[in-house]
Every structure is written in C-alpha cells, then in structure tokens.
C-alpha cells in the first residue's frame, strides 16, 4: 500500500506547471490577446508576478534553485558545464551533482509525480514517479520507476526535441516540437489518473526551444511561423484548462517559468573578449579544449558568462597568486564595463561571487558572472574567432523576466512582491501549511 494512501487528505493537492523560458511579458500579452484564455482566468484569480531568475539565467541553475529553494552556493549547480575540481576537465553536472534536496525528497509522506523538470537526470527513487527533463540521455535512466518505461515508449515519449533539426528545417523542427508536446501530454494524463498523487509537477520545455529559434516569429506578425508560435502556446493553454478542470476546490496551483526571453541581436563571445584584453591565451589555435590554456592565462570563461580567475594552486596552470586575485577581478570589471559592440555597451552588470552566491559550495562558484544588456547573448566559446556573431537563433534568455502565478486558498501575502526563483519552495510550503488537516 502506498504511503500516501495511509494519510489520505491530510493535506490537499498541489499542482505545479512550469513553462521553461516563458517570459512574464509574453504571458501577459497572450492572455490579453486571447491566445491563452485559461491563463487569463488564472491571472485574474491568482497572484501573477514577474519573477527574477538565477544568475546565470540558465535552466539547470534556475530549476535547481526552484526545486530546492536554495542558492547555487547551496545546491552546487552553477551552469550546464563545470570543471572537475583542480582540473580544466569539462563536466556536465546533473541530478547526482545537486547538493540540496528537491522538495519532493524533503517530505516523503506526499506522493509526487514529477515530469520533465530539467536537470533531474538520472532519476532516483522517490515516493511517486519521476521522468527527468533535459539533459537526459537515456529514457530508462530518466524514469523512476523503470517499470513505467514501456508505457512511455508506447506513447512515443521523448525527453527533448532534437534542436539540431532546427538547423536543417524550421518546419521539421516545429513538427518535432508538436510531437514531443503531445507525447508529454499523454504521459501527464496517464499519470494524473493512474497515480494517487498529492504533488504533481509538470514542465513544458518546448517553449524554450521555440523561443530560441523563433522569437522573431513571435515579434513579427507577418512571419511565416507566427501562427505556429502562438499555436504551440495555445495548445499548452488548453492543457492548463484541462488541468484546472481536474483540480478540486482546495487544490492549489503554481505556474512559473525559470527565466524569460527576449530578442537576440548579437552573440558576444566572452573568451574572445578575454583574449583580446590579454587575460587569456591558448597553446594552440584554435584550442580543442580548455586544457590547452596558456600558462600566463589570468582568467577564462565557462558558458554562458561565468568568469574564473586562473588561480595558482587551484588550477593546473593557474598563475594568479591569491593576493593578486582582487586586482585581476577589478581589471576584469573595468574591461567588461568598457566592452562595446556596434556602439552599445554589452554588459549590464558584472556580479562578484560574494554578491550572488552564498553557501558551502560558493568556493566553487565563478569569480564573476556577467549579465548582458538587452539584445546581447553572452557565450563563453573558446573557438570563436570574432568577438561577436550571429547564427539562426533569434531568442535569448532574460534574467529579470520570468513569471510566477500562484492560485491557492487564502492570503496573497505568501507571494513576495518581487519574487525570485529561490522563493518557490517557501511558497509551496506556506500553501501546504495553511491547509486544514
């Protein structure tokens, strides 16, 4: 017998729907335009706020912050990539690297269904069901319990679209996006009905992919794929309607995104800037990896714009003495504050480690994280030859423009005026605590 069944109705149910990369401004706009009527209703009935993402504003960091309610200095995920301690070896942190517990592991009496939360691969056991979100390389390892895999396969379930396809053909990519969404909907419906859950979390990640490749289609109504862009979100809105219908009176719902989006005008390559300013060199051009970093390198960057001082004693080819670290950081700050592309300042702000990270894993954090001004997308890129470039992507993440929507019983005061991704777990706790037992 399930644990949850022994404690029936000790608290009401909580539904969390994530829309990866969905901007506050876009939701507002589509709700007003009638593309997302169910969202409109939720906005009217609940508390709807713009939410600040993590820094850096990438999915793995933001979602890890959302599900643990902690800062990267506590949960240990600072980006999609990281370096193995004491080396220049690139690693890809995943669920095993997460140092803080996600909310569903903190309270095991609640039975959870967790679908497609980024960075929860490989899946591990919980009271409930988990299907990991990207990056998940093998559906078997992405699914707990594994006995669910045949069911998912029969639905043609896929964790992610193949974003390489967008390079080949946008219409092919859109089809892939739709298929992936429909399979996700099948999986959610199946688990919604089959599982006796108390927490149900479902993340739609196609929004982020759509926005990366077709943000211009959203902004330009005459664009060939404008309708396709809206119809993807309309489909998600239909699912929201379905979810609301399936909810009982004392159930609560949280809708949120991990970051926002905006138009991408130029990609700016931070390692190129570091090279041009004399902070970084490589033994070989172009380098195959960071391992070929030159001995005199003072700083290097990892995606998207995390800058590490090449400290002596910390890295194999570190040359900056600890006492010189502060001076290097100051030089970096002044170099980046002066960085201009096409007459515009690229960097909105450079954050020092101490300003944004706190917790036991802060020592592993980057020394400096850059946030860009609108239109500029920052990439680390060790192989780029020019300071800036542009490929087929037209949308980029935006840090201040995620959204949060809470509809539950009672006080609106549980949602901070200016919420941040780290606050979500606290809101969930409060929502559940105020339930009559």
């Amino acid at each position: 017998m399930d644990v949850a069944r022994r404690f029936p109705k000790n608290n009401s149910r909580l539904v969390i729907v994530g829309l990866d990369g969905m901007p506050y401004r876009l939701i507002k706009n589509l709700a007003e335009k009638g593309t997302m009527p169910n969202m409109k209703r939720l906005i009217e009935e609940g508390v709807f706020r713009q939410m600040e993402s993590s820094i850096p504003e990438v999915s793995s960091v933001a979602w890890s912050s959302i599900i643990t309610g902690t800062n990267p200095g506590v949960h240990g995920i600072f980006g999609f990539t990281d370096l193995a301690p004491g080396t220049y070896r690139m690693t890809f942190p995943n669920f095993n690297s997460l140092k803080a517990k996600p909310f569903w592991e903190r309270e095991s009496s609640r039975r959870s269904v967790i679908i497609n939360v980024p960075n929860t691969y490989p899946a591990r056991s919980l009271n409930g069901v988990l299907i990991a979100g990207f990056v998940a390389l093998d559906l078997e390892k992405a699914t707990y319990p594994r006995s669910l895999v045949p069911q998912l396969e029969s639905m043609d379930y896929r964790v992610d679209v193949d974003s390489q396809r967008a390079q080949e053909s946008l219409s092919f990519f859109l089809k892939d996006l739709d298929r992936t969404l429909e399979a996700r909907i099948s999986a959610y419906r199946y688990l919604w009905h089959e599982e006796d859950w108390t927490t149900f979390m479902l993340v739609f990640t196609g929004v982020d992919r759509l926005a990366h490749f077709l943000w211009d289609a959203y902004e330009d109504e005459s664009h060939k794929y404008h309708w396709a862009f809206l119809s993807h979100l309309h489909r998600i809105d239909e699912v929201l309607g379905e979810i609301m219908q399936g909810m009982e009176d004392d159930d609560s719902i949280i809708l949120l995104s991990d970051h926002g989006f905006e138009l991408l005008e130029k990609e700016v390559y931070i390692n190129v800037a570091l090279r041009e300013e004399g902070f970084l060199s490589f033994d070989r051009e172009p380098p195959a990896s960071l391992k070929e970093i030159g001995n005199s390198t003072k700083a290097f960057a990892l995606d998207p714009a995390r800058i590490y001082v090449n400290l002596k004693g910390r890295y194999p080819r570190g040359c900056v003495k600890p006492e010189d670290r502060e001076a290097v950081i100051r030089d970096l700050e002044s170099a980046f504050s002066a960085l201009v592309v096409d007459g515009r300042k690229v960097i909105r702000r450079a954050y020092r480690k101490g300003e944004i990270f706190e917790g036991p894993f802060s020592p592993q954090a980057p020394d400096l994280v850059l946030l860009a001004n609108e239109g500029f997308n920052l990439r680390a890129s060790i192989k780029a030859a020019q300071l800036w470039g542009k490929d087929i992507r037209t949308g980029k993440h935006s840090q201040p423009d995620a959204f949060l929507l809470v509809k539950g019983d009672g006080d609106k005061g549980i949602v901070p005026k200016k919420p941040r991704v780290f606050d979500v777990v606290d809101i969930m706790d409060k929502l559940q605590r105020r339930r009559p037992i």
């Binding site: 070896r89 890809f92 980024p118 990207f134 998940a136 967008a166 195959a288 995606d303 890129s381």
Partner: protein, 510 residues
Amino acid sequence: MKLHNADKTCWNCPAIDLAGKVDFRACGQSAEKFEKRVSEDSDIYIMAECHRRPELGLFDPISITFEQCPEWQATPYGYMLQNMRVMILGMDGYLGWTLTLWLGSLGCEVSGIDNYSRRDWVMERGSHTIVPIARMTERLHAAKEVLGLDINFRRMDIMDRARLRGFVEEVKPEAIVHYAENPSPAYSMIDAEHAIEVQRNNVLGTLGLLFIIRDTVPETSLLKLGTMGEYGTPLTGRPLFEGMFPADAVLHWDGREWSMGGELTPRDPVSFYHVSKVQDTFNIYEACKYWWLRSYDIMQGVIYGVHTDQVSADPRLRTRLDIDECFGTVINRFVAQAVIGFPLTIYGAGEQIRAFIALEDAMQCMTRLICSPPEPGQYAVVNQMSGYYSIGELAETVAKIGRKYFDLPVKIQRVENPRVEADRHPFEPIYEKLPKEFGFEPRVSPEEAVYRMFELLTRPEIKERIEQKKHLILPQTWWSGIKKRVETIEVFEEAEASEEPVIVEQPVLE
C-alpha cells in the same frame, strides 16, 4: 619515453558511453544517440559516461588522456585498460590461440568462440597440423595450469548470430578481434562449393557481426584481419597505401586534377578468398560510416613462425602449423619441406614479392592496436608487415639456414604456378602507421623465426608428421579449374643456388 597512446583520450576509449550531443545555446540535446562527432563548435558538447569510473558523472570525453586515467596502465605495448575484455573470434586457430595466450598473459580478460572449422577444413583436405595441438578443453586446462589464465571460451559458429549476440551481450567486450574467417586462397578456388563456403563464412559472418556490434557494444573496437593480398600487385607500380590515399595524392586527368586524399585505394584481389576480404572491407567501412562503429582493418602480410613465449611454454599450448597447399603459408611450408628433404616449391619464376610478418611481431602489432582504439566512426587500415621479400629470396634464406645450422641438404625447385598472378611485378607497400603511430618495432627477423621453426620441426615426432603428409605438399588446385598436381620445372642443386641471399650471419636469439 612517452608511450604511443599516452595522449589518446576517452574519445577513443571503449569504456566510455558517448551519451549524446548537447547544444546549450539552444538548451537542447540531440535525439540521435549515435550522432557522435567531436564538434568544431565549442558550444556543442559531446557527453561521455565512463562504465569503469561512474563517479566521474557526465564529462567531456577529450579531457582525460590514457596517461592520466588510472584504468589505463602502462605495458610494453602502450597503455592498456586494466583487465581489458577482449573477445577473440576464431580462438582455436593459428593466430587466435596464440593471441589468446599472449593477451591473457598481459592481464586481459580473454573470451572467444570457435567452431573448430579450421580443424575440419584441414582434415577435409587430408592433412593435419604438423605441430600437434591439444583439444580445446585440454588447451584451456593447460592455459590455467601453466599460465594461470581463465579463458572464457564457447564453442560457437560465427554464423549463429543469436548465440553470438547473447555471448557478446554477456561479456561486453572492449575489443573484438575477428579471426573467424577461412584464410585460404587455394581452398576458395577448389570448386563452386568451396568458393561459396569461404565467401559465406567470411562475408556473411562479418556482416552479421557488424549488426551485433551495432546493437550490443557499439563502443567496442573491431580488429578485423584483412590481408595485403586485397591490394594485389598492380603492374603500374603505384604504392600500396594503407587502405586510403594519403592527403597529398592527386588524380590528374584531362588537364584537370582532384585530391584523392582519404578515398579508398583500388583493390585487386587475386582469389575468391581475397574477394571475400575486400567485401569485408567495404562492409566494415560502411558500418563505421552508418553507425559510428570503430574498426582497424588489418592488412596482414604473409604470416610465419611457431614461437611466442606462451605457446612454447608447454606442448599442450602449442599453436597449429599447417603445410598443405591450402592452409600452409609459404615460409612455414618451406621449412617443413626442408626438414624432410623435399625441394622447396617456388611457384613459377619465384620473383613474386610479398609482405611478411613473424607470428610474434603480429601479436605485438595486434596488442598495440587493441591498446589504441580508433575513434567513433573511424575505419582505419594498417598494413601489418615487417618487410617484403621475393619468394625466391625467402627460399634461399630457408635453405641457407637449414644447411648451415641443421645440416640439411636443402634443394629448391621451381614448379608450375597454379595461380593466376604476375610472376614479375613492382611492389611498393607503405607500412608506416604501425611504426609511427603505434610504436611498433619488429623484434623478429625472418632468419631468427626460421631458425626457431627448424628447431621445432626437426624434432623426430614432428618430422614424422610432416613425412605423413608429404604427398600434399605439391599444389593441385589450379585457378583455371584443372585438376592436376603441378609439375616440376627445374630443381636447383645447392651449388646452383643463385646469389648468396642477404642474411644475418649468426641469428640473434633471445
């Protein structure tokens, strides 16, 4: 000194599962699992997971070298995976058994299959191995007793795909050495049944194996035995490159030119057996292209010799040695002929030039190749040989050693050539990869290997076994299809032997 494979990385390592391609600019991953390429684009990452060191999590496969990885241990042949799982198909054969003991002694976990068809084929031709070999069960027992090896052997036909698949899935080999082919040009020319049998076993066996690898162990490296004979001996005299044209090869025609770099060189097989090897080449080449398998196609010169430390360690560990026209290779046959006073049989003019390699050197090469796997999707060819000689020269070498050290009155005879091949031809093999990229240095001279063979083959019990099959020495399989024993054209007495062969005065022995 730096070992030849010190700088190879997890990208080449069979213990790695290359888990997928991720483009973080689009936060996206590739759905295609076998989409494996080191990206030119630094924002697209290939992720690797290590079966042996799962604690590493997901990481960039080019960031750890063999030299840095504790799983790769230094050996005389390069860094080698500890307890590397190597599966040998055709374990009971001349090379298969020798390599089994060789790799086992280096610490590999050796597994293998054989259906004893080599024993059957030789028996069918009325012959036997002149060096007596034990039954497989006894061989395995002796390997345990004498060398302390646990060999995981299954009696199995490579064509039995269901069982082979099960065995591969169970063992998960990190390298597969494919020796399970019929190695005989003459056997393939006997008649339609024999030609078909050779091509069926060789071509279809290999093709099925490729599918099994794709489905079960795509990260393994396949070391497939080809032959220098795939290239033939083109009368233009163009060099016999290692499988592909080098980067600076250019085709001129009609006032225009094209780079040929990277294209497969022409093949000119000289028997239906050789055709089967060429067909294998194309099948493997395609499989590497379609499925990102990795393979070395080993164009081995004519093999000879009886010795490695392991096979010589106990009579029950000996590897076979055939001397009949189908399964005996030329130097092995010459030495056996010399031992019983049978004039050494040179086909035709005896000026055919062939590439050669001694058994021990071939084992060294195979080990070096196993230690340095190709990268995903890489089909690479090596010409595995230590030198090239004319057949006449080799007969002289054998004769001289037989006369000088074993007091044998060796004669040489020219017989009709039953094959369709050029008697006189240019020959310029290129064999630089093994020495330059894999650190191979031949350790055994032909003279030394021949000396060792005489030592073994002059033993009375072995000489007796040669005598028993003396009637099978002269070839009777004609490429034209005629059935008749070849006739002697002329016999050279010792005094008539042409020039002094170039030979080391005193063979250097360990």
